[in-house]
Amino acid sequence: MSAAHVAVLRFPGTLDHESAARAVQGVGGEPVYTHHEDVALPDGTAAVVIPGGFSYGDHLRPGALASRTPIMAAVRQHAARGGRVLGICNGFQILCEAGMLPGVLRPNASLSFICRQAELEVADDGTAWTGGRREGEVLSIPFKHHDGAWFGDPGHARVVLRYRGENPNGSMDKIAGISNLAGNVMGLMPHPEEAQDPLLGSVDGRVIIAALIA
């Protein structure tokens, strides 16, 4: 059986596509780069990753310009059919700006960029995105962003991950990652693709990436 194809989106200014692709490969998937001006996802796409970075230089509002590109219409259709979509960092911002996840990501309370290892608590173990991890279990995954404070109505989403301990960025209810109510679209500010390799400090991001093709 051939590996499941995962579309890895690339916008001008996307930075984490290579690490995302490597992470997908690491869990047995087949990454396929897909560009912003494409109007359709590659044939046989099983899931979509929107990696981190500074699409369009983060101008206007992070994710705003990318969320209006042609490929996002195709991603929306994929999600409407129940397909899985994972937005990481800038990808999360893009999903919110596209209206595929509720809320918006606002500047960190410190108004500066923060790069730090975080402990994330599984807040809802009912979605596919945390694999077999139970509520309350902790994942060590780094985050790095300037605009990572989620703001919105948590009632319109499932809160999947929360920062443990002190709130690092002023996010509402310490939210680090949410999914839509159906559970197939997930966005998070921390970077699971950078927690795949013991040499880099943690492998806790694997469950999240693996959920793309589970």
């Binding site: 001008p12 200014g13 930075l15 984490d16 290579e18 690490s19 490597r22 992470a23 981190g52 970075g53 500074f54 369009y56 230089g57 983060d58 101008h59 500066s112 960029f113 923060i114 790069c115 730090r116 780094p142 790095k144 300037h146 970077h191 693709e193 950078e194 795949q196 390799d197 040499l199 880099l200």
Partner: protein
């Protein structure tokens, strides 16, 4: 114009230099030509004061693939790959506009790496500001860090290390140095040498505006007969989004074999890029200025020639490949414009509105610079500190805590947390340790990289200070288990014609060269920044060294953190601590101990071998704040206490907080102590001085004991800079 001083003086050329230009040209230069000479013959572009001295550096070795002279140096790291790197200053622009100055400093050094065809994999920054009780210095510091953060994060290159120091001497002249490291297949390394008569000259990237036009603005407003605000030079504004596209595009062009040569546009813009490319390739270049895409109207030819608009690269392309190049640029949403061609004349020509406004043999600009020897007036030899005159503290624990919170010693977390340290998913050792460790993508090898300078030592004893700068950088690299393989340097000095600055420059270079030779690490690239002084005085001489080390097996790298209670603590190395010029003394005074490069070379070999055999758990060099601070840092990083006992030497406080020598605090499992001692073969000192464990950290120096809770140490050390910034 007739009532003002002659144009050449306004442009900063001496009468003698102007005479020399007329002599070389055999006629009076045109105004644009004079502007080009003034910039290319400036210290910034020509190194007219420093080049003769730089010849003293060792620049060859079995690993050197490309030495100084190109955009960046390259060294062989196996698997057919080369690591490419360079450090550069952006001091003056950062003092004027710290955010954009620091940001465009990052942009500039990244383009140097791209010009070699290498993919950037790491950034570092070395910073100097006035003390944090100065409002202006706090502003410069905050904004410069934000500028680096903004630009570096947005282009997607991890920042893995650097340094920050605060001292009154940098109040008026802050230093912002940035280093970029890239990787390239050795058979894909690009040169900046233009070749092939008839080949096209292509400008890729942003449009050209009046950014950063120095002396040339004088000419422009004079020529145009008015000086309304719109014609004034403007500060360069960085555009990292375009830089990222430029980087992707240039690397794709190189990958596809579409480029003959590539060069970034930095200081003096098109003028310096074109003259470098022409004189390196021993060809001529003809530029049609009317084809250069402009952002503003009414720019004079001299302005187009020297504009420092950012995010631009100049390429030489065979005519048959022009379509493919244009297509690639379009794919990356960039302009690529044919602005001229390679000629056989050896001249740099510029055409404007169909008329020839410039024709200069390019070597006049690059090679016929009037070099100047700097005056070498030695400063008096300082007197060693009389220990008896330094009061012995009643409570060494309190001194220790205070030292941990001194901004120069304290954690620089506030700085490096604003940098993306991880993008690319190859960062194995993040900032906060001794050196950043980055896996070479697609291999099992890793490099360790650091930036360091010993400016106090260089002020007091420049030969020793030059050595100390090299050895401190190398020690930081060696502590990760890597073997130092090559270096780059950025010489930040005051006015070389004044006081003892010229002598300090020459002496420190001699010291660096001797240390580099002793530890077998050639210099492969570098940069000089002079005139860092104000009416209130010169900066400290600050030779910043960027050191690169290699780990053949990435999985053997070491960090600074203590791990498990019960592990043995070792003091490895040589030399006696001294209070002279230490942070404990708190003043740049005394006679710092002379470094021992041979001793360090042996230390580095031992550390690398221990790492290879996985005998050590951690290693951390003893630097600012001495042994007590180094020990505390290992404990904080590991979240575990420790106890160490050391001889008192001349006095307990000196043993705890004195600096100097080549000393490393390491930890290992107890059963490995014997093997490590055996490996040292008596050539390197290895002493077991304590044990990891507990909730506090203590040092016993010959019976005098300092003991502080780990939590207290961590809190003071980690929060100090933020507190200093928020206090007012």
């Amino acid at each position: 114009m007739s009532d003002g001083p002659p144009l050449h003086r306004t442009l900063g050329l001496t009468d003698e230099e102007a005479g020399r230009i007329t002599g070389l040209m055999g006629r009076e230069p045109t105004d644009p030509e004079l502007v080009m000479f003034s910039l290319m013959w400036s210290e910034h572009c020509s190194y007219k004061h420093s080049k003769p001295l730089l010849a003293g550096f060792p620049t060859t070795g079995p690993r050197v693939v490309m030495g100084p002279g190109e955009n960046a140096g390259a060294v062989d790291v196996g698997d057919g790959l080369a690591i490419v790197f360079k450090v550069e200053s952006h001091n003056h622009p950062s003092a004027v506009e710290p955010f954009e100055g620091a940001a465009t400093g990052v942009g500039g050094i990244v383009r140097d790496i791209i010009a070699v065809g290498a993919k950037p994999i790491a950034l570092l920054d070395s910073l100097r500001f006035g003390t944090l009780d100065s409002r202006r210095s706090r502003f410069l510091f905050r904004r410069a860090v934000e500028g680096i953060s903004h630009y570096g994060n947005c282009i997607g290159i991890p920042n893995v290390g650097g340094e920050v120091q605060f001292d009154e001497r940098y109040e008026d002249s802050c230093l912002v140095n940035a280093m970029c490291v890239g990787v390239v297949a050795q058979d894909r390394i690009l040169s900046c040498a233009a070749r092939g008569v008839g080949n096209r000259l292509v400008l890729i990237g942003n449009r050209t505006g009046r950014d950063g036009i120095g002396g040339a603005s004088v000419l422009a407003s004079a020529e145009l007969g008015d000086d309304d605000a719109g014609k004034r030079p403007s500060v360069q504004v960085g555009d990292p989004f375009t830089e990222r596209k430029l980087m992707d595009c240039c690397l794709a062009l190189s990958e596809a074999g579409l480029l003959v040569a590539l060069q970034d546009l930095g200081a003096a813009g098109l003028t310096s890029a074109a003259s470098e490319m022409a004189s390196r390739g021993e060809v001529g270049l003809a530029i049609d200025l009317d084809r250069v895409p402009l952002r503003e109207q009414g720019m004079a030819p001299a302005e187009v020639l020297v504009s420092e608009s950012q995010e631009r690269m100049l390429a030489v392309v065979e005519p048959a490949k022009m379509d493919a190049v244009a297509a690639m640029a379009r794919r990356h949403e960039l302009d690529a414009t044919d602005i001229g061609e390679v000629t056989g004349t050896g001249d740099l020509e510029a055409l404007w509105r169909g008329e020839e406004v410039v024709r200069i043999p390019s070597r006049y600009l690059t090679d016929d610079v009037p070099f100047q020897d700097v005056p070498r007036t030695p400063a008096p030899v300082p007197v060693p500190i009389d220990l008896a005159a330094v009061p012995e503290p009643a409570d060494p624990g309190a001194v220790w805590l205070a030292l941990m919170g001194e901004p120069n010693v304290a954690s620089k977390r506030w700085v490096f947390e604003q940098y993306d340290q991880l993008v690319g998913a190859n960062t194995m050792r993040r900032p906060g340790g001794d050196a950043g460790v980055v896996r070479i993508p697609g291999t099992n090898r890793a490099i360790a990289v650091t930036l360091d300078s010993a400016e106090w030592h260089t002020e007091l004893d420049p030969y020793a200070g030059g050595m100390a700068s090299v050895l401190e950088a190398a020690r930081n690299v060696a502590c990760t288990g890597a073997v130092p393989i090559a270096a780059t340097d950025c010489l930040n000095f005051a006015n070389p014609e004044k006081g003892s600055t010229g002598w300090r420059l020459a002496e420190s270079i001699r010291g660096m060269a001797d240390a580099l030779t002793a530890i077998d690490t050639p210099i492969v690239s570098g940069n000089v920044s002079l005139y860092n002084e104000s009416p209130r005085g010169p900066i400290y001489p600050t030779p910043v060294i960027g050191m690169v080390g290699l780990l053949d097996d990435a999985s053997t790298s070491l960090g600074i953190a203590f791990d498990l209670p019960g592990h043995a603590i070792l003091l490895i190395g040589h030399g006696e601590p001294r209070v002279d010029a230490s942070r404990y003394l708190g003043r740049c005074e005394g006679l710092p101990p002379r470094p021992d490069p041979a001793g360090d070379a042996a230390l580095f070999r031992l550390l690398a071998e221990c790492a290879r055999q996985r005998l050590l758990v951690s290693a951390h060099d003893v630097s600012e704040g001495g042994l007590a601070v180094a020990l505390a840092e290992c404990c904080i990083a590991g979240g575990v206490g420790a106890h160490a006992a050391i001889p008192a030497g001349r006095r307990a406080d000196e043993a705890m907080f004195g600096e100097g020598g080549g000393r490393v605090i390491a930890s290992c499992r107890v059963e490995n102590v014997a093997a490590i001692t055996a490996l040292a073969e008596g050539a390197v000192g290895v002493q077991q001085v304590g044990t990891v464990g507990g909730d506090d950290v203590s040092v016993d120096a010959g019976g005098s004991v300092a003991r502080v809770g780990l939590r207290d140490l961590a809190e003071v050390w980690e929060g100090s800079i933020l507190r200093a910034l928020e206090a007012r």
